[in-house]
Amino acid sequence: MVTGQLAVWLNIITIVILAFVIANLTVSAIVSLLTQKFISLQVKSRKIVLWLLVILPWLTSIFVALVFLNGYTSATIFEAELDYAHWHHMSVFSSLSWHGATLIIALIFTLYILVKKLIQLKRHHQDLAQLTSFSKPLTRGVFEIELAESSAFTAGFIDKKCFITSGMLKEMTDEEIAVILGHERAHAKMNDPLKKWLFSIFTAFFIPSLAAHLKLHMTLAMEQAADNAVVNNDITSTFVASTLVKAARLNALYSPVKNNELVANFGADVLEQRVYFLLGQLNLKPVNKMLTVVLVIFILAVCFSSIDGVHHLIETVLSH
């Protein structure tokens, strides 16, 4: 049994975990309901909304814990705070209870995610270094890989590199190569590889199928932003779209069509959406700010009102 200041902090961390789980479930329910709506948002708005959704459980849980701590350590700011934001036995923490188990499970899970992501990052850097050593520089930040397969991509967090295979250089015209490299440089400029990695860390705390949806939406938004960055007075959006389809056709020559229904549909959605976007056939709207604020307040309210209830509910099943 832990008492005193340490117990307060351990209880606060337990509150953070409970609030995180409640906020995560609420965000998951919202994402499940609105997933098709995201696609009709403007690219910039969509990116902001996606970041907000994955960060919201963290922000909400920290905010809720701070309010609980404030309610315990000082006079309450709001009358209502005492009704909702209270935690029994704040200065006593029993490690051999569901509180202790919750802390340990959350800690192990978080460590698992972080270690997994860091190992992935290390492997990625090693493979990237290896790939760079097998490629030759074309221009600043652009490397050619001698390979018949058709591919172009950008990787690296700080020292960003754009790669294009000799197969793609051979099959594409100079104008098409300008589009491809312009697209890759846009990814590099927008720090997309780093953002993708960070986004994947946040989504790892959601159930896998939902995380896949969120990542798909982010990928699409990033690709559309990079496609759009290439369009200028000399390069039309229809030309970018036709280059994209030509590259897809070349990719299809070397990669077998995947049988996974989910993947195939996702793939179809992404390429089609990118082409429709470039052709101006999507009626994209800005995010409804009022609705976003209402949703954030709703998630906060759900957390505040549920913590005490969840606490009691757990203790009806498990002994304190």
Partner: protein
Amino acid sequence: MQLGEVEKLVLQYLWQHKSADVKAVFKHFEKIRGGSLNTYQSTLDRLYKKELLSRHKVTNAFQYQPKVERYELIGQLIRSVTSDFVTDDNSLVAAFSSMSADFNEEQLNKLESLIEAQRIKLAKGN
């Protein structure tokens, strides 16, 4: 998979010469970059352990051959670096035609027709 500078050079040599023993490798690199016979023996061992080379004994010495071709190794590295962000957590890259390999001919033809229609529409508008 991390390859050292000498490992890469030896691998390049074997990709060109298909098969060689340590003496042949040493003889080739002795003139270009120096090093001892042991250096190349341990390099060949490491490449064998990394499963990049196969070997068989001819009289008293091992003959080494590349187990993977250059394009296969590079293909593996590209796949590892560009694994799909949605289906596999390993992707930290932004690819030009990401996820477009999952398309069939019909879908691509449909998109091409759509682009052509838009092009004609824009040309008429101008």
